[in-house]
């Protein structure tokens, strides 16, 4: 070893040798054991006196001709030791340099691997890169990677002259999982035939994914630096695999969101977009799913002129599974109520249970359903209630009464177990069918809105229209739950049996003759309501003046057009609302003045008269529809 080193250090030796020759030596030779490494001069010139010194630290020896004496001998020894040490250091330096170069090469390799994988967001392509690059990096004949997602089949990737079977790969993975600290196996007995050494590591990816990579059949056995390098690669690639999974997940999520959006649209279209307008009934229905799709449904169907179907249901659970069952349930009820001749509502639920029992029990779900028919000839509501809650009956002038369900939900029992109940309605009665999303709405303290608050809300808003009652309830629930998100679907139908003697709608042609019909009706209505003659007369005159104005100005006497008039009288006010499609009016209602009678004007009194008779007059025009509201407050003496 020293001999080869000497070749590079010959220059130094020449300098040393020339010092000795200047001191009188005839020849200087450096020997390693018996081998002459260098001789200066090369030609040997025999000499009587010769100094031979053996190094104390190495196998080197120095032979100097032409000089003798102990003094020279000790100098030569020191010189020889120094030379030996120098050669040893140089040798170590060279080794170190080689190691550094190798480390740098590996760092560059890791950098290149990272660069190559950075833009790869595809699992098989990442595996290919990982195996190929690490095989090159570790100068191995084979490379492998095994990726297994929980609940899925493993993916294998190999690049090798000697391919391992899937069984062998699985056995290696099992071996690795047995002792995860043993990164390297250099014992061929533990390895499949043809494999003499193996280094295997796991990549730090998410919990649900197990990822291994390995290299095998390296020319030299794997060492501790190899493991360190492999760990660095594992760290880098693990992060890239994780990124790729996140990327794939976000892709999946976007796709799922788009699909959910469509599902939601489909579902919203299944539910009625608007409820039938039925003379004498004020109906409002709505459904607000908590998630993208919900398990609640409702329907208001006019079966015939005299029969109205009301249904509200709630399939247990939320999201897609309950939405699918909800669609089925809704469809069965809809077709059963339309096609099937039935006398009692419970027959529809029997049919529903018969059709869908196995579907429900297969997935461990069930549905609460209210199904009712309202007979308009006698104002009787027949209904069957399979676990649906809350249902309120609000008799005219009384507090809401909670009607508890008399039957178990659909999909629970195989045998038919539904019954029919009947309620006789009177004018002014209100019926509310809702899902538990209202009473079970929670606030940030995890308190529930509850049945009592719901009852109070309905009681408070009972004199409003069906739509306003629902809006008022939603406002109460929302202010209760405040910032807490809606957790469950909220569905509700409110049916108000109008006091038909007190509310009336007219659709009349715009002529002076026809406007008498609502004006005279109004008088009769208010007389019946036992209001003061001055109020009755004032309202009648106001309506007369107002309708005359519409005929004269909005329609300019054109009788082809019509005016809609809604007349309502309740405990607090008389309201006359008109809707016309004539010319919009450009008037500032706050600046209307009564003409001076001394001017003997023959017109221009109408609006001033109306304003002096009524308490509130409003006008708005939208899309060619002009709406006027004339309100007279009633102050009854108790």
């Amino acid at each position: 070893m020293l001999a080869s080193q000497m070749v590079n250090s010959a220059e130094r030796f020449y300098k040393l040798a020339s010092i000795w020759i200047n001191l009188g030596a005839t020849q200087v030779q450096l020997l390693d054991e018996d081998l002459v490494l260098v001789s200066i001069p090369e030609e040997f010139t025999p000499s009587k006196s010769m100094l031979s010194v053996q190094s104390r630290v190495s196998t080197l020896a120095l032979r100097i001709s032409g000089l003798t004496g102990d003094a020279w001998s000790s100098i030569a020894e020191s010189m020889l030791d120094g030379l030996g040490s120098l050669l040893t250091i140089e040798s170590e330096m060279k080794d170190l340099t080689a190691a550094l170069v190798e480390t740098q090469d590996r760092l560059v390799a890791i950098y290149e691997l990272t660069q190559a994988t950075r833009r790869t967001l595809d699992i098989p392509a990442l595996m290919e890169l990982l195996v190929k690059e690490s095989k090159t990096l570790f100068d191995a004949d084979g490379g492998l990677a095994i990726l297994k997602e929980k609940g899925q089949k493993p993916i294998f990737h190999q690049i090798s002259d000697k391919y391992l079977s899937q069984t062998e790969l699985e056995a290696l993975a099992a071996l690795f999982h047995k002792d995860q600290n043993r990164f390297v196996i250099n014992d061929p007995h533990l390895l499949p035939p043809g494999i003499h050494n193996l280094m295997m590591l796991s990549l730090p990816v998410r919990d649900k994914v197990s990822a291994l990579f390995g290299v095998y059949n390296s020319k030299t056995d794997f060492t501790s630096p190899d493991i360190k390098l492999a760990q660095a690669i594992a760290g880098q690639l693990g992060a890239q695999f994780e990124n790729t999974y996140l990327h794939l997940e976000s892709l999946r999520r976007v796709r799922l969101e788009a699909e959910m959006d469509i599902a939601r649209q489909v579902q919203m279209n299944i539910l009625p977009q608007n409820v039938p307008i039925i003379d004498g009934l004020d109906i409002y229905a709505m459904s607000a799913p908590a998630f993208e799709v919900g398990g609640d449904f409702f329907d208001v169907i006019e079966r015939s002129k005299d029969s109205l179907v009301l249904t509200v249901g709630d399939v247990t659970g939320k999201g897609m599974p309950s939405a699918l069952l909800m669609s089925m349930t809704h469809t069965v009820i809809k077709s059963a109520s339309r096609m099937m001749p039935f006398n009692f509502p419970h027959q529809v639920l029997d049919r529903l249970n018969f059709d869908l029992f196995s579907d429900f029990s297969n997935v461990g779900m069930f549905a609460t359903v209210f199904f009712g028919t309202f007979d308009r000839t006698n104002s009787v509501l027949s209904f069957s209630n399979a676990g649906q809650s809350p249902i309120y009956h609000i008799p005219n002038g009384q507090e809401p009464v909670l009607l508890e369900a008399q039957d178990v939900p659909v999909g629970v029992l195989t045998e038919n177990a539904f019954s029919t109940q009947k309620i006789q309605f009177s004018n002014g009665d209100i019926f509310v069918i809702a899902t538990d999303g209202f009473p079970e709405a929670r606030n940030t303290f995890d308190e529930m809105f509850g049945y009592e608050r719901m009852k109070n809300s309905l009681s408070k808003s009972r004199n409003l229209s069906a739509k306003e009652m629902v809006e008022s309830l939603l406002a109460d629930v929302n202010s209760f739950s405040a910032s807490k998100l809606q957790e469950d679907d909220q569905t509700i139908i409110v049916v108000k049996v109008n006091d038909m003697d007190r509310t009336k709608q007219f659709l009349i042609p715009a002529t002076f003759e026809d406007i008498r019909i609502p004006a005279e009706y109004l008088r009769a209505l208010l007389v019946k309501a036992a209001l003061d003659e001055s109020i009755i007369n004032g309202c009648e005159l106001a309506v007369q003046e107002h309708l005359t104005n519409l005929v004269e100005h909005a329609y300019v006497g054109n009788s082809d057009n019509t005016i809609t008039i809604n007349i309502t009288c309740d405990e607090n006010q008389v309201m006359i609302e008109t809707i016309d499609k004539g010319k919009p009016v450009n008037v500032d209602l706050s600046k209307v003045k009564m003409p001076n009678p001394m001017d003997l004007a023959e017109g221009g009194y109408g609006l001033a008269i109306i304003q002096s008779l009524m308490d509130d007059v409003t006008y708005n025009t939208n899309n060619g529809r002009n709406t006027w509201q004339l309100i007279k407050f009633i102050h009854r003496t108790p």
Partner: protein
């Protein structure tokens, strides 16, 4: 000295129009036409007997005002008999025409006892 007698007959024609029921925009044109015919024939004194009307609206009022305007030009007048139903002619109060029209009792037109 013999009594000198001279007689002077003055005939004042008063048209009394009695209405019953609603005097509103639908009826107004017909009443206006009646007034127009009388005025064209030089009748300048009108009494509208509103005793039995159930309501008077601004279109009816316009007929009354129109008649008043035209008869006044010829020194005539329009007088009104207030309806039995106090509120039926409420519009006259709202518009303050109760201070413009002479309001009389029917007996002032046709003296009792004749």
């Amino acid at each position: 000295m013999a009594l000198e007698v001279s007689t002077n007959e003055k005939v004042i024609k008063i048209v009394t129009i009695s209405l019953k029921g609603r005097f509103d925009a639908f009826e107004a044109p017909a009443i206006r036409k009646i007034c127009d015919e009388y005025i064209a024939n030089d009748f300048i004194h009108f009494v509208f007997d509103l005793t039995d009307i159930s309501m008077l609206d601004s279109a009816g009022l316009a007929v009354l005002v129109s008649a008043l305007k035209r008869t006044r030009l010829q020194n005539g007048n329009v007088r009104l008999v207030w309806p039995k139903a106090e509120d039926a002619a409420r519009i006259l109060k709202l518009t303050k025409f109760d201070q413009v029209f002479a309001l009389i009792k029917l007996s002032e037109v046709i003296p009792v006892g004749f």
